[in-house]
């Protein structure tokens, strides 16, 4: 007996659930050979709004967890990816990655997660400080997460770049709404399935797929997003900075027109964590 193939409907991971776009729109994703592969949700600004609501709900609980616990959960995400390397390799192959290239990207991604998992309970010691002041005060600076961060993934390295943007943001207790690569969104869909099984509370990481030109203006103007990061073209950077100035949010963008090596050592670091932190300095009176 012949069996009908059961194909997966790609859905995006938002608020701990797998959803279609509220618009019900999709765009066709071809595989590397140019044949139809799947219909990917074409998320709209309303999906972005809903994702921000989900992130806002998850935010306080995530930030309140101990740094140690956040580290454990990010480490577990690495474990999930390690166990499902083959699935992810297939997802990367859709975009044309060779077996070797996919394996290299997945390994680098897992290493990146483990790297930031390690930082979770350490960045505060390095970035926080006790400041000398010429008065009888104990003066110290501590970090706080910004809140909800909007991230724009580049077209290249659809998995590694996405994780390289998400991991430092959530390490410190931020929540994230990320727009996946438009040309290679499928690895982000599969990543959502791993996030769902990684102990990461729903809503901490929200992944959207769709067209940048439809979503970038809303990323720019949504006042509930407290920071923007990722990779953007010159025109997008202008839109993002104008919108961010209006709603007073921090912007840290890489230029899409300049090549960036996501595999390099300098693609990860403490400063990537610092990009999504606010600093709070306290003057505490001390006795004689």
């Amino acid at each position: 007996m012949t069996r009908l193939p059961i194909t997966k409907t790609p859905k995006v991971y938002v608020g701990g659930a797998f959803i279609r776009s509220e618009s019900a729109r999709t765009f066709a994703l071809p595989d590397a050979a140019g044949n139809f592969f799947a219909n990917i949700p074409q998320c709209t600004r309303k999906d972005l709004r809903n994702a921000v609501e989900a992130a806002a709900k998850a935010g306080p609980g995530w930030a309140k967890r101990t740094a140690y616990n956040r580290g454990q959960i990010i480490y577990r995400l690495g474990e999930m990816l390690e166990a499902r390397k083959a699935d992810m390799a297939d997802a990367l192959a859709v975009g044309g990655a060779t077996k070797a290239a996919a394996a290299r990207e997945i390994t680098a991604t897992i290493d990146r997660l483990i790297y930031y998992a390690g930082w979770a309970d350490k960045y505060e010691q390095v970035l926080g400080s006790v400041n000398p002041v010429a008065a009888p005060y104990f003066n110290f600076t501590v970090t706080e997460p910004m809140g909800i961060i909007g991230l724009l993934a580049p077209e290249a390295a659809p998995l590694l770049a996405l994780i390289s943007l998400i991991a430092p943001a959530i390490t410190s207790g931020n929540t994230v709404v990320a727009l996946a690569s438009t040309t290679q969104p499928y690895p982000a869909i599969v990543l959502g399935e791993m996030l769902a099984t990684s102990d990461l509370p729903g809503g901490v990481v929200n992944l959207l797929t769709g067209y940048r030109k439809e979503l970038v203006p809303t990323f720019a103007t949504h006042t509930h997003l407290r920071g923007l990061g990722g990779v953007a073209s010159a025109a997008e950077r202008q839109t993002l900075k104008l919108g961010a100035a209006d709603s007073v949010k921090r912007v840290k963008l890489l230029k899409a027109e300049e090549p960036f090596d996501w595999f390099a050592e300098k693609a990860q670091g403490l400063y990537e964590v610092r990009d999504h932190l606010e600093f709070k300095t306290t003057w505490h009176p001390i006795g004689a």
């Binding site: 806002a56 103007t221 006042t223 709603s247």
Partner: protein
């Protein structure tokens, strides 16, 4: 009485209200709806921890919900009887915002009738323009309809000129048929533009589109039979502007434009106002707004 007023088609109601959530209301129509809903809010604080200071700031919010002068004041503030005089002091005597007070041993209603009436008298004496009473649900469920009605009449007489709102507490009436019966029981002794109200907001299940629909259909049927227009107030559980617009759609499509005014329709809510302001601001600026740009409301319901 149940034979006389007829049963409720429960499935029909659920089907009908499910359709209300599918209306596409955008741009000018949405802005109109949001402002209308703002003008219909009974801004409510009903907590054990209420203080005169909190009531005063609630009144301030009621008078000027937002910087934008085109946004109307809310219809009323709704407070406990002991807070009525503080609300009156905060609002003054010449004010568009009315003072509603829950009375009659809210929320249970389990006190002797003379205590409940004394509470109503005190609230009106302190300056309440509107009284929200609870019906005796125990008596209703025991079938003592006359007793329930007599108590409503007693409270109505005690109210004097104040508008009366009769809280049916739908979650304790169990069925749609009971909600319809209780609505008629109250409406038959109410004056024009007195209200029937869904709930106290103190139980698990509050105003839903379904309950609202049963009650506004009762109001419609009563109006068509007698010509007396009774007003409606859903309360509890309406937190978002989207929900408020859906309730307004239900009103427009069931009762018509005559009920799209705050003398005939109200929302009992505390956090709804902030979401309405947030959505109005979104329409004005085009940018989605963070909730913390709008002051926190009392979270009681």
């Amino acid at each position: 009485m149940f034979n006389e007023i007829g049963p409720v088609d429960g499935v029909g109601i659920e089907e009908r209200v499910a359709k209300y959530t599918t209306r596409s209301i955008k741009k000018n129509a949405k802005l109109f709806g949001l402002k209308l809903a703002t003008s219909m809010v009974d801004l409510t604080t009903l907590e054990g921890k209420d203080t005169p200071g909190k009531v005063a700031s609630l009144c301030q919010k009621a008078l000027s919900p937002h910087d934008d002068p085109s946004i109307p004041t809310v219809a009323a503030v709704c407070v406990y009887p002991s807070m009525v005089r503080h609300a009156r002091r905060a609002l003054g005597s010449a004010t568009p915002v009315r003072i509603a007070s829950v009375a009659t041993a809210f929320p249970s209603g389990q006190a002797p009738l003379r205590t409940r009436l004394a509470e109503v008298r005190a609230a009106v004496g302190d300056g309440a323009d509107e009284i929200d009473m609870v019906i005796n649900r125990g008596a209703f469920l025991a079938g003592e309809f006359q007793l329930v009605q007599d108590e409503i009449v007693a409270v109505r007489e005690t109210c004097g000129p104040a508008t009366l709102k009769v809280i049916l507490e739908v979650s304790e009436l169990e069925t749609y048929d009971n909600i319809r019966a209780a609505s008629f029981l109250a409406m038959r002794v109410l004056r024009p533009n007195d209200f029937i109200k869904t709930s106290t907001g103190k139980t698990s299940l509050n105003a839903t589109l379904g309950n609202n629909q049963v009650m506004i259909e009762a109001i419609r049927d009563f109006y068509l039979n007698t010509g007396t227009a009774i007003a409606m107030k859903p309360a509890g559980g309406i937190r978002t502007a989207k929900q408020a617009l859906q309730f307004l759609v239900a009103v427009k499509e069931t009762l018509g434009d005559d009920w799209l005014t705050n003398t005939r329709y109200r929302f009992g809510a505390s956090s709804l106002l902030n979401d309405l302001l947030r959505q109005i601001e979104k329409e004005r600026t085009g940018a989605y707004q963070a909730p913390y740009y709008f002051s926190e409301a009392a979270e009681s319901y």
